[in-house]
Symmetry: C2
Subunit: 349 residues, 2 copies
Amino acid sequence: MRYVMVQIPNKPASTMPPAPRPVPTSADVARLAGVSRATVSYVLNNTSAVRISEPTRRRVREAARELGYVPHAAARTLRAGHSRMVLMPTLPVPAGPLYSRFVHDFQGAMSRLDYTVVQYGASGVGGDEAARAWAELRPVAVLVPGTGIGPEGVAILKRSGARAVVTLGPEAVEGAHAMLLDQADVGRGAAGHLHARGRRRIGVVVPEEPGMELFSAPRLAGAREALRGADATVTELPLAYTEEAADALAARWRGLGLDAVFGYNDEYAMLLLRALRDAGLRVPEDVAVIGADDLLLGRLLRPRLSTVRITLPLGRELASLVDRAVRNPAAAPESHALFSVAVVHRDSS
Amino acid sequence: MRYVMVQIPNKPASTMPPAPRPVPTSADVARLAGVSRATVSYVLNNTSAVRISEPTRRRVREAARELGYVPHAAARTLRAGHSRMVLMPTLPVPAGPLYSRFVHDFQGAMSRLDYTVVQYGASGVGGDEAARAWAELRPVAVLVPGTGIGPEGVAILKRSGARAVVTLGPEAVEGAHAMLLDQADVGRGAAGHLHARGRRRIGVVVPEEPGMELFSAPRLAGAREALRGADATVTELPLAYTEEAADALAARWRGLGLDAVFGYNDEYAMLLLRALRDAGLRVPEDVAVIGADDLLLGRLLRPRLSTVRITLPLGRELASLVDRAVRNPAAAPESHALFSVAVVHRDSS
């Protein structure tokens, strides 16, 4: 192994900063354009209810440009009572490929409907405390992944002017629209498949990285549930996402007496599969392996990785639900089960 | 291949929504608690400058809770003139694993410094237009990845009250702090390595997915630049991230007469490597392959994938720069080259 370091030289700081100037206000724009503040507001917010001549509109726009005046979204929201902002709290873990793609698509779809999606950084607070922090931004809609909100949180958001709250979780929450999405289904599907393939001593990988329990706990619970009453055992296998950890688990594999493993997702499954084979175990003869997410990379592996394919709601379907809910805030909450899981049987199980 | 569909039944919508209530204001809280609006504001914003008795504070808090009153971040910002919000525009493509991890770490580090990171959805606008949209949220600091801002955009943000603008791109922008990070270095490193390994006819994968040119164009340019004047050719290889596209490219590989390929990143490199081997080509004997990102999965591959390791700035280093800049907005812009690339030579090249 060889490392070639390419170092980029430090560039000097370019120039001194300009002397701080006061932030221009709409009053400054009004003064420069020789109009009232109300006129500035009408022009810059494109209000059509008031007749203002084109030359005046032009003068206001030019004055705003000259001063570098930008309307304040906050002030605008205060006046209008609602924004076009859709707030989404971020997950407590780095987004995986499936979720990144989903957020990207949802954002694009909302943007085409003239909303802006804002992902709010998890600040370590949860429950109603979190709902209160989101409410401070006065979003017109909130999309909450996971189990991060209860009925009181929904009520807090609605009282603060949110017209729609949509949850992406295992159960509907009172007052909110629900996209039902239960991680336990993934574990159920994987364990059910391994059992159907004749395996009886089944390991379930549980990532050790902090925050992952949001997904791993229900996946493990789903696997246990699927095998309850069946002639099979479920063994929890904590695993960090490193080659060393996978090698260590593979080294003590024969002592565990397992004949199958659900790898949590494709990435952990690929990591463990490689370590098991390096330790002399045959896949699937000695150990059947299944992942989840149906990543392209799992299909490239030999043996091809079996997986649980997870279909998240389409960005544009979810966007249209949010838009409908915003335009009709009094409508009864909708509950959709667009999330589905399907076992894809390949060569590793 | 076998698919087992696990379908989740639709649950009925739980209850009718509560009748819409007016959004409670601080005046409502003041009325219920029997105090002035100023007192409500002092208590709920934890102002210590004013002496207010503990029983009064408790009365205000209880009234706020009873009414479900949440202070309005916008109103607070209007009063205070600045927020604790750090805005980051999202990338125009789904975040890859490296970037997801970086955002997650940065967010955690800012959160420990009592800021909230908000990722602003790309809305299809760019340049000063985008800066104006971000400015409307009145962030205290803005972190711009890529080349999405110029000196005028920086000025717009500063005039709107942003105390710090930090860019994560190839060049410093006037008025902004810079974390220098040039994607061309990745291409330079990869092409330089392949040339040093004796390869002369080098293909460079360019992903066909929309938005990827933000990264792929400078990587290709860097590869070309590294080989300028050398006895080597660079061939652009458009490739979609599908097995079919990779197989099609592999099928016409011999006609291209290439002896090496820089796969854009590890994921495209792994996809192409598999297709090349399935088409009967030997790696690295017939074709040397190198990726970028140093994903764990590339290390698991046989032959082990050579790669360009990219080190992004640490979340906490960047967070401390942002915090320093916010607290001292008049300081001269800093320029840091924390981003570095290192070629990791394994078995595929």
